[in-house]
């Protein structure tokens, strides 16, 4: 699918998600500007990006020439005014409404009037984020999945004031970037997290209730349903602290009891058992290599 978008900026490109989104954009042939307020994190993500593409070459997925071409499309900056000529700005900054609104307000001053602003939020309302911009009709949700450089899915969500043209442009860009967009309303958690966060909490509550062990719950889910990971393995991977944060984002809005953080989850976080990144969560990872290494 063709798209009039030629230049993409990713805000928060020093972070894991932002860096992955930048890879998606550059790999699809878009000139990609990686923006982050912290130059050091940009440098680190640039090294990670180079390592990622080096691996792609090693595995025969990419020629060295193609790799060089992609990396040549990517540039880095900590100066927001460098985003002036971007067609599409995708924000993947800290998941905080005031931070995202503040960024859009600043982008209003810098970017062309016809630029499109996209938010990668997973928990916040696109409409509420768009309220930080003087042009909410040009704001759309583009929620990538982790790891963004590997996952094809993007949840595309229009806010209340998003124009049809902006929504179409967002969908068109996803397709042009080789991604698979799904259209969802601007509701808490969109599709993915609306189903996943309560489900993961239910699995924790099953342990609390003495139904089964974490190992057996994961084994049952994978065997019966064909899931690649069990819910408790997945929580360990994303982090128990992250699961608490997701609960704290969803429960006050939805008042769905399944979205509230189970007591066991909170106790484990308090004990420092937050999953793979701490070496122990529902499973013990001591002595194991980092995931994906």
């Amino acid at each position: 699918m063709s798209t009039p978008i030629k230049t993409v900026a990713v805000c928060g490109a020093g972070g894991t998600m932002g860096a992955g989104i930048a890879i998606v954009a550059a790999r699809a042939g878009f000139r990609t500007l990686c923006y982050d307020t912290q130059a050091a994190t940009l440098e680190r993500s640039a090294k990670d990006t180079q390592a990622f593409f080096a691996k792609s070459v090693e595995r025969g997925k990419l020629s060295p020439e193609a790799r060089d071409g992609i990396l040549g499309l990517m540039s880095r900056t900590s100066d927001l005014t460098d985003l002036a000529e971007c067609d599409l700005v995708i924000e993947a900054v800290f998941e905080d409404l005031s931070v995202k609104r503040g960024l859009l307000t600043a982008l209003d001053e810098v970017c062309r009037k016809d630029a499109i602003f996209a938010s990668n939020t997973s928990t916040l309302s696109i409409t509420e984020i768009a309220a930080g911009s003087s042009r909410p009709e040009r704001v759309v949700g583009l929620h990538f999945c982790l790891p963004a450089q590997l996952m094809k899915l993007i949840e595309v969500s229009p806010g209340i004031l998003t124009s049809k043209e902006t929504l179409a442009a967002g969908l068109g860009w996803c397709a042009a970037a080789g991604q698979t967009p799904v259209l969802t309303q601007d509701k808490p958690g969109f599709i993915l997290n609306a189903l996943l966060v309560p489900f993961n909490n239910d699995a924790i509550r099953a342990i609390e209730a003495g139904v089964a062990t974490a190992v057996d719950i994961d084994k049952a889910i994978k065997t019966a349903l064909g899931y690649k990971m069990g819910p408790l393995e997945l929580i360990d991977l994303v982090g128990l602290d992250t699961q608490v944060r997701l609960c704290e984002a969803f429960y006050p809005i939805t008042l769905d009891p399944r979205a509230s953080a189970p007591p066991l989850l909170r106790r484990m976080v308090a004990a420092g058992l937050i999953g793979r990144k701490s070496g122990r969560g529902f499973y013990d990872y001591s002595g194991q290599a980092m995931f994906g290494a």
Partner: protein
């Protein structure tokens, strides 16, 4: 491990033609008794284990819940979505007084038949239905509310979460009326809204009942 099958009716775990049925021997000589198809429990303390096939009921329905003696009775259900072929998963169900030896015998029998075994407490829905029915109800509700199309809800779960199939296509394939029946049974026990059958499932059950 030798086993004998005592079948009282159709079995969801081991439908007609399943290789496991052919492996059963004579009850008197078998180490394990396998009771299938809405069985009536006949205790046999001499056996390594007496296995009782469960549907939505708890094992306590068959054994009573006031036993104080160690028990060799183990509940089980092989997970199956509607009329799909049974999955390799067998959920064993234990009660507080179920012996480790009986559990070990049940595990050895099913694993020897190439199945994957997990152990659940004697709680409604065991592991799978306890966890997936609220999710299926939620997905059906999101569809009703227009959050996204069925295709996109299912696609999101497949691409974003690596599921083999989406929650709605799976529920539809398994039968909305069957989903209703299982959810309703769980709702009766837990009383929480998550188990209340979604509107689409309720309608399917009403239409089925009307047709019957």
């Amino acid at each position: 491990m030798t086993y004998a099958i005592i079948q009282n009716g159709d079995s969801r775990s081991f439908p007609e033609g399943d290789a496991f049925l052919a492996g059963g021997g004579v009850a008197g000589k078998a180490e394990v008794l396998v009771l299938l198809g809405r069985p009536r429990l006949a205790p046999d303390p001499a056996k390594a284990a007496v296995l009782v096939e469960l549907e939505t009921e708890c094992l306590g329905f068959h054994t009573g819940e006031d036993m104080v003696e160690p028990s060799n009775v183990v509940g089980f259900a092989r997970y199956r979505n509607g009329n799909d072929a049974p999955s390799p998963l067998v959920e064993l169900v234990r009660q507080p007084n179920t012996t480790e030896d009986a559990l070990a015998a049940a595990r050895a029998l099913f694993e020897g038949a190439g199945l994957t075994v997990v152990v659940s407490g004697d709680q409604a829905g065991r592991i799978i239905d306890r966890l997936v029915r609220p999710k299926y109800n939620a997905a059906l509700k999101l569809l009703d509310e227009g959050l996204a199309s069925q295709k996109d809800i299912d696609l999101t779960c497949r691409l974003g979460l690596g599921y083999a199939d989406g929650p709605i296509e799976r529920t539809m394939r398994g039968g909305l009326a069957e989903h209703h029946d299982i959810s309703a049974a769980l709702f009766q026990v837990y009383g929480t809204p998550a188990y209340a059958p979604a509107r689409k499932a309720l309608v399917a059950a009403q239409r089925r009942d009307e047709a019957e």
